[in-house]
């Protein structure tokens, strides 16, 4: 197992290294001066220019330039934002929690609703129930997220006036960021309005979270259903039934844990599309997360923000997908067997 983990770590480092190479090459092709693209400083004075040249070895060959670049980026220096003149890493730290919050709520929604529905679809003897569930999930799977987001905000926001459609919180609430997660911060806050701020935050997250949850939800339903159907035919399930166990016990104890393994694997595969969907959702609902930040950086030709955003998003996706793979291997007895066989 240790060797396996080492190999995954190696994979993470190698992928990140390739990512840095790509970013480095792209940076040198931005249609601006290289020192500006690297640091975001508009009009550096002579001293700053010297410092930049030294930090990024701009007068040396490409190879040492790359290693200086790597060194700067790894030490946490992502330059400053060209438009706000604040360090990119600081801005990144302020927008990441919002994205994580949205992603966490959506993932929770998708799993808590998707898994039971998948089980229901697989166990139901009625063709109608099965077909309805499958039809709904197929529709959900094929709806473009930008259309869904706009439609939901038009219905529930503008026409019915039930739910707010932009931002994380009514701006009149002043909540000190402690964790960066607004739902938690509002509860921690000692402001007299903390309860209503929490409710307001909850109302704000409903529409974006639902929009973002639709895709993973449908995938979870379909995979859970397929997995349970396969598993229910297995001999050990038959054995459990033969022992006279209740269906619910058979499903919850014996079938579901095994059915969740392919769900986990597919979650890892879905990270990429999930992240790009999250960006679209953030832009539609003006959610102050890393996606909206990156998109506005692109509009404003803020090259340091673009690099920082791409780097952060890509690193997070690489890291989480490798973590999911490790988790998958750890809990899947079959893959463990393969692992031992291959070693």
């Amino acid at each position: 197992m240790a060797r396996y983990l080492l190999r995954r770590l190696n994979l993470f480092l190698a992928t990140s290294f390739v990512l840095f190479i790509v970013l480095f090459i792209v940076t040198s092709h931005f249609p601006v001066e290289k020192s500006f693209a690297l640091t975001g400083l508009h009009s550096p004075n002579a001293q700053q220019i010297e410092q930049i040249e030294k930090n990024y070895s701009l007068n040396d060959g490409q190879f040492s330039q790359f290693f200086s670049y790597l060194q700067q980026r790894l030490s946490g220096d992502l330059g400053i934002s060209a438009t706000s003149q604040r360090p990119v890493i600081e801005e990144l730290a302020s927008v990441l929690p919002a994205s994580f919050e949205l992603a966490a709520v959506s993932a929770m929604l998708a799993l808590t609703l998707g898994i039971p529905l998948g089980v229901l679809a697989s166990l139901s003897r009625h063709k109608i129930t099965q077909h309805t569930i499958m039809a709904i999930t197929l529709t959900g799977y094929s709806i473009p997220v930008f259309w869904l987001g706009l439609t939901l905000s038009l219905w529930f926001g503008v026409q019915l006036g039930w739910l707010p459609i932009s931002g994380q919180l009514n701006l009149l609430y002043e909540i000190e960021p402690v964790t960066g997660f607004v739902l938690i911060d509002t509860l921690l806050s000692d402001s007299p309005y903390s309860t209503s701020a929490f409710i307001d935050a909850l109302l704000h997250i409903i529409l974006p979270a639902i929009t973002l949850a639709v895709l993973p939800f449908t995938v979870v339903v379909r995979i859970t259903r397929a997995a349970i159907i396969t598993i229910m035919d297995q001999t050990y399930i038959k054995a459990a039934e033969a022992r006279g166990l209740h269906t619910s016990r058979v499903v919850l104890r014996h079938a579901l844990p095994n059915a969740l393994i392919p769900v986990l694997k597919n979650l890892g595969l879905m990270l990429g599309p999930f992240a790009s969907y999250a960006m679209v959702v953030e832009v539609i609902f003006a959610w102050p997360g890393v996606g909206a930040w990156l998109v506005s950086g692109i509009y404003q030709r803020d090259y340091t923000v673009i690099q920082g955003g791409v780097l952060a998003v890509a690193l997070i996706i690489i890291f989480i997908s490798i973590m999911i793979e490790v988790l998958y291997t750890a809990i899947n007895p079959l893959s463990r067997k393969e692992l031992y066989a291959s070693n």
């Binding site: 009149l172 002043e174 309005y193 269906t247």
Partner: protein, 547 residues
């Protein structure tokens, strides 16, 4: 199986109840106003910029000037100066200052003294005195003051006593007081300046502002919001709103949606097409104010072939401006016959302004020997007071010019990039406009058409005519309105003849708001005020103007 379904239904019922509870529970919102603004301010000191977005976010909220405008009559009224005297030769203006006005306090700064003459000297010397410690702190210069030649106008600012200041002018200027009342001429705290010098973080003065205005600056998050608290020691009556938040929302439709869902209470710069939507909602209303502005299409007269007046006239003849008024403004604007809007006292209808005539346009182009012309039109990406939709305007012009065989490329960038690229001077033509800072007619010429404004980049046509400048200087040096009016008409005639830019509309200022909001008020010369003060209400002061 049955148990499973039971559990599922119990679970979903619980979830539903939770949603209902949270959805219908009583909500308490802190008392305050949320204003959906259209963009990020470039700075928190309006001295450094000319953009209306920055003026909106600062001048009326954080700062006060020496003098102010009465919103209804357009008269100049006291603000931080209680009264003033003008010497017989009209070269010395003496201001008596208000006593007991406190500056804001913040985490960094607690004022130890009230506002006095030192603050006035500090604020204005920063602009005109190149050896002032803060003069070079501004990377953008002082564009408004440069464009009106403020540094050449002021000979000296003299502190007579702690509460009396005299401005000595080099030459007569009838627009001087009006310019002081503009949103750009605000008063900074000298004490704060000294503190920042000690901490050697001078640039903070424009980033974390301290002023005397109705609201204190609290926090700014780019692309998100600006937060203000009420200034509890404000010298005029306290604003009703304890909190003021600018919710930065560049998209006009998003602003409207936020207004409808109640995320904001007042919304800026609506598009004309959105008016019917607001009328459908009973709780919303439209605030309007005849605009002191002009929207124009400026040609870069330093770039061939636009240096040829025949080409400029040809392009102007080809554009159907009535169509633009109909499609872009939808009756919320009046057609421009020159630079001055009908509200200005120097206005008179200018018949010589160019008419729609594609045939003539073709002939003029032939005369000029220009063939296969391609024009880049830069269209602002954001709505401004004077033009709610520059992109649509550009598309209409594109269609019109196609009729005379001129090809048009529409170019657009994000607003801050757009401004930067404009100052690189490489554009062919740009659709932009001007929102007046004060009621003086000079404000429609000197800041945007004079030679000095070419240098400060606020003259988008980059057109410089010494003769035109002479007319303007003469008009400024005269105090008789009748004479000035004649001079400004001369200027208009010359402008129409040379046509460095094509004015097409004076737009009505609009804002959408919830009906229960009473304390927001559009000011005629740009800026929006949330203090609930009508500046004309001050009864305890007497205005004394001697000649």
């Amino acid at each position: 199986m049955r148990v499973l379904i039971k559990r599922l239904s119990a679970y979903s019922t619980a979830a539903c109840i939770f949603c209902l509870l949270t959805g219908c529970g009583p909500q308490y919102v802190p008392p305050g106003l949320v204003y959906c603004s259209e963009g990020n301010p470039e700075s928190f000191n309006p001295q450094l910029v000319t953009s209306g977005t920055t003026v909106d976010a600062t001048s009326q909220q954080i700062y006060n000037g020496l003098v102010d405008y009465n919103a209804t009559s357009g008269q100049i009224i006291p603000s931080l100066a209680t009264q003033w005297q003008i010497s017989d030769d009209e070269l010395t203006y003496t201001f008596q200052l208000r006593k007991g006005v406190k500056f804001h306090d913040s985490v960094r700064f607690t004022p130890s003294r009230a506002f006095n003459a030192d603050d006035v000297l500090f604020s204005f010397n920063r602009i005109i005195d190149t050896s002032h410690p803060y003069h070079a702190v501004s990377k953008t210069g002082y564009p408004f003051f440069q464009s009106i030649g403020f540094d050449k106008l002021i000979n000296k600012i003299e502190k007579i006593s702690d509460y009396e200041v005299a401005f000595h002018l080099n030459n007569k200027d009838a627009s001087f007081l009006s310019n002081l009342a503009a949103g750009f001429a605000i008063i900074l705290s000298e004490e704060y300046g000294q503190l920042l010098i000690k901490q050697s973080s001078e640039e903070t003065i424009d980033r974390l502002p301290i002023g005397t205005g109705p609201f204190k600056f609290v926090q700014y998050v780019k692309n998100e919001y600006i937060r203000y608290h009420r200034n509890e020691t404000y010298w005029r009556s306290l604003p009703q709103a304890e909190l003021l938040v600018f919710d930065i929302t560049p998209k006009s439709t998003s602003r409207l949606a936020k207004l409808i869902t109640g995320d904001c209470t007042v919304s800026a710069l609506p598009k004309a097409g959105e008016l019917p939507v607001v009328l459908e909602h009973e709780e919303l209303e439209i605030d309007s104010q005849p605009g002191f502005n002009v929207a124009f299409w400026a040609f870069n007269t330093q770039k061939p072939p636009f240096d040829d007046v025949r080409v400029r006239r040809a392009l102007a003849h080809a554009v159907d401006r009535d169509n633009i008024l109909r499609a872009v403004y939808q009756k919320t604007a009046v057609a421009a016959t020159g630079m001055l809007p009908p509200m200005s006292w120097a206005y008179s209808e200018n018949k010589s302004i160019i008419e729609f005539n594609p045939q003539k346009a073709k002939q003029l182009l032939e005369q000029a020997g220009v063939e296969n012309l391609t024009v880049d039109i830069w269209a602002m990406p954001v709505a401004r007071i004077y033009n709610p939709n520059a992109h649509k305007t550009a598309e209409l012009i594109q269609a019109d010019l196609a009729n005379i065989g001129v090809k048009v490329n529409i170019i657009s960038y994000d607003w801050s990039v757009f401004n930067q690229k404009l100052s690189q001077r490489s554009y062919d033509s740009v659709l932009i406009g001007w929102n007046a800072d004060n009621s003086d007619p000079d404000n429609f010429f000197t800041p945007i058409l004079s030679c000095s404004s070419v240098a400060s980049n606020s003259n988008r046509s980059r057109w410089c005519s010494p003769e035109f400048d002479r007319i303007l200087a003469k008009a400024r040096a005269t105090t008789s309105r009748a004479e000035r009016k004649i001079l400004y008409q001369q200027a208009e005639a010359m402008f129409a003849d040379k046509l460095p830019m094509l004015p097409f509309a004076h737009a009505t200022r609009l804002a959408f708001k919830h009906k229960d909001v009473k304390q927001s008020r559009l000011t005629p010369f740009g800026g929006i005020s949330f203090s609930g003060n009508d500046n004309g209400d001050i009864s305890d002061v007497n205005i004394e103007v001697k000649h």
